[in-house]
């Protein structure tokens, strides 16, 4: 099963390689991983998506907690949560195709970030399924290149990951 795991870490050199190294050394799967500093207390938040059965996910969470710079780990999949991902996609678009690309962009509430006589760059935000669906429609028109951020996610409700945050 797919799990979205949120990891609050000390924002210090090498912390990402500790997390990535753990997954590599123990053969855990990473579908996506995002990391950036958050707040002003010298912390970063990692969101990672992994696929595994209950025992594997339990091991992943325990192993992450064991890393010294890891402050807190939460499996967001256990409760209600919101997931978002951002995709930039460059589509070939000439003549009559241009309107089609813009229509698809509109359906997915995406924005055009750049345009040339024969291409558009589109920004799409949403959960992974939405991005996949959008991409399915754009592919036949000629996708030149694309990039995705990977999932970020927060739990629903008025509570933070840890009480005093």
């Amino acid at each position: 099963m797919r799990h979205v795991i949120s990891v609050l870490v000390e924002n210090e050199a090498g912390v990402l390689s500790r997390v990535a190294g753990l997954f590599a050394a123990r053969g855990f799967n990473i579908e996506s991983l995002t990391v950036a500093p958050v707040g002003d207390e010298g912390t970063s938040r990692i969101t990672l998506v992994s696929i595994g059965d209950k025992e594997i996910i339990e091991q992943i969470i325990k192993q992450l907690n064991k890393l010294i710079p890891v402050i807190h780990v939460v499996d967001l999949t256990e409760g209600a949560h919101v997931e978002r991902e951002l995709m930039l996609v460059k589509v070939a678009a000439e003549r009559e195709v241009r309107a089609e690309v813009l229509r698809i962009a509109d359906i997915f509430r995406s924005r055009v970030l750049d345009a040339t006589p024969n291409s558009f760059m589109i920004e799409v935000t949403g959960d992974s399924n939405k991005l996949d669906a959008c991409l399915e429609l754009l592919k036949p028109l000629g996708v030149i290149e694309l990039v995705r951020t990977g999932q970020v996610a927060l739990s629903r409700g008025n509570r933070g990951m840890i009480k005093n945050q």
């Binding site: 090498g14 339990e58 325990k62 010294i68 402050i71």
Partner: protein
């Protein structure tokens, strides 16, 4: 007070009550060695290889219960230390290894003797640090010691660029109090879980206790002994757990696992409740995992949550320091009337006694050649089973575990997890430094001994009277045993006779005493002679070449499918 980084290293070690450092100098640690020169109260043991230095710090830590300290230079010094770190990491031994590094400006430039030490050691340490600013140094060193010794212990590397050791900084002793917000090991067992565990134990008809190195590391041998006697259940130790419960106690059924006793393995396979304490269900212990303790409810006490339900699914986990949890359990067991309803364990013990009657550790000592087990039994008798025993890895290690009984913890040094040949001699040195008055024996093989025999020089320089017993069978014995059993006797690259040194002359070349025994009647006089001197002694026991370690659980088989002799 303004000090250089190197002086801060020395001052901090002294403030933390470190008395012995095992190391090897080199370019990037010259400032530290210079600062140490003026502090003879910090005793430096010059080893002959960085691997030896780390193993020696490891042996020191196992015997003393304190954090062992190693000091090595950058590049090859650090890479040589890696095997020692991985050994300590697998066995959860607290040590701090300070490694030199090239100056901060040169890091990443492929400078002379540069290695990415933090990158290389990340997966074989509990934690590691690269200190880029001298102002962080004192704090980082304290954090390193704190992390090494608390929670599930382990090795910590502090990588120190040379310019940081030269830079000046204000220093004041900030005590040993350390706070790391992201690091708070759980040490007290959950009271409800503990209560549940005790009632499960007291309901069991066939309870079995299985304990590992966690009992030793947590200094919980007294608590374990007390609790086991209150329950009256049979108890087995892992290789790492030997000495956690007195081997001479009738409740002890010997070691379990691949070369454990028949009675221990049968008891685990047939118990209805398994109480695992400070052990991690290693594959050498469990055999075929799906058939491990198949009829048992399993309770697992461990300080490391990742050890719980990693290999074997447990029914009741208790996370906490073994010493505390055992104390909590004893308190409940000692409540008046608590044990009144406990089932009679006599039928279970009658069954265990039947298994014991197999006498699975039998061997036959004839008149002509020496059996390796006989040497260990003689060592046991002539040291009143009271020596500190270090081993390398292989057949001799298993025989030592089977035939040398330990009634006390911290007397047994062996590389259980990583299985590092070459561990034994430097670890014995560390033990000898920690407890100078005690008899320290190294039981080794002709293969293992040659992996770190250069440390004889360290023994002789520092007058460490380690008594080295080489069970010399001219083979990599365990490799040969597997080749005999599983590869139809094709002894591929396991015969070591050609090129083997004369171990007596080798000892003498270093200034140690060399002795040899080739016949059974020479064993006892040789050991007596070795124990009578205060010098380092190498005893070359020419033992039967093709003796095997039995009993044995073949790899991938269940514990109750043992091969007996």
């Amino acid at each position: 007070m303004e000090l250089t980084g190197a002086q801060i290293v020395v001052r901090t070690l002294l403030d933390l009550k470190v008395r012995h450092v095992f190391g090897y100098p080199g370019g990037s640690v010259l400032h530290i060695y210079d600062a140490m020169f003026k502090h003879p109260e910090l005793n430096h043991i010059l080893c002959r290889h960085e691997q030896g230095a780390v193993h020696a710090a490891d042996g020191y830590a196992r015997v003393s219960g304190e954090v062992g300290v190693a000091l090595v230079t950058s590049g090859p010094g650090a890479t040589n230390a890696v095997t020692g770190l991985a050994t300590a990491n697998m066995d959860s031994i607290p040590l701090v290894c300070i490694s030199g590094q090239v100056p901060v400006d040169l890091i990443g430039n492929d400078a002379f003797q540069e290695a990415d030490t933090v990158g290389i050691t990340r997966s074989c340490t509990k934690h590691n640090f690269l200190v880029r600013r001298v102002t962080d140094l004192a704090r980082v060193l304290r954090e390193a010691f704190h992390i090494a010794r608390t929670g599930r212990p382990g090795p910590v590397v502090v990588d120190l660029p040379k310019d940081v050791t030269a830079a000046l900084c204000d220093y004041e002793d900030c005590g040993s109090e350390v706070r790391i917000r992201s690091y708070n090991p759980t040490v007290i067992g959950n009271a409800r879980q503990v209560k549940k565990a005790v009632s499960m134990i007291l309901e069991a008809q066939r309870p079995m206790i299985y304990t590992g190195g966690g009992v030793i590391l947590s200094n919980a041998a007294a608590e374990l002994t007390r609790m086991t006697r209150l329950i009256g259940a049979p108890i087995t130790n892992t290789l790492m757990g030997l000495g956690g419960f007195p081997a001479s106690d009738p409740l002890f059924v010997g070691m379990l696992g691949m070369h454990g006793t028949y009675e221990a393995n049968m008891a685990v396979s047939n118990c209805d409740l398994l109480l695992a304490i400070g052990a991690r269900f290693d594959d050498r212990v469990t055999g075929k995992i799906s058939q491990f303790a198949p009829n048992a409810k399993i309770i697992h006490v461990d300080i490391d949550p990742t050890s719980i339900s990693k290999n074997v699914k447990v029914h009741l986990p208790i996370v906490g320091d073994v010493k505390n949890v055992l104390g909590q359990m004893i308190a409940l067991l000692e409540v008046p009337g608590a044990r009144d309803q406990q089932p009679d364990l006599k039928p279970w013990w009658r069954q265990i006694d039947v298994w014991r009657e197999k006498l699975c550790l039998r061997y036959h000592q004839g008149k002509d050649w020496i059996e390796p087990q006989f040497v260990i039994e003689k060592l046991r008798d002539l040291t009143q089973a009271n020596a500190i025993v270090s081993t390398d890895v292989g057949q001799h290690q298993m025989w030592a575990a089977q035939f040398y009984p330990f009634d006390r913890p911290r007397r047994w040094l062996t590389s259980g997890g990583l299985g590092t040949m070459g561990y034994g001699l430097p670890a014995a040195m560390g033990a000898s430094v920690a407890l100078p008055g005690e008899t320290v024996i190294l039981i080794t093989g002709d293969g293992s001994f040659q992996m770190n025999s250069q440390e004889l020089a360290t023994c002789c320089q520092f007058r460490l009277p380690v008594k080295i017993a080489i069970l010399n069978n001219s083979y990599l014995g365990m490799v040969r045993q597997w080749q005999q059993i599983f590869y139809e006797g094709r002894y591929s690259q396991s015969h070591m006779a050609t090129g083997a040194p004369d171990f007596v002359k080798l000892a003498e070349a270093y200034g140690a005493v060399g002795l040899r025994a080739t016949r059974p009647d020479e064993v006892e006089p040789t050991i007596r002679q070795a124990l009578a001197t205060d010098q380092t002694v190498v005893m070359d026991f020419r033992v039967a070449e093709e003796s095997n370690v039995y009993p044995m659980v073949p790899a991938g088989k269940a514990l109750n499918e043992m091969i007996l002799l």
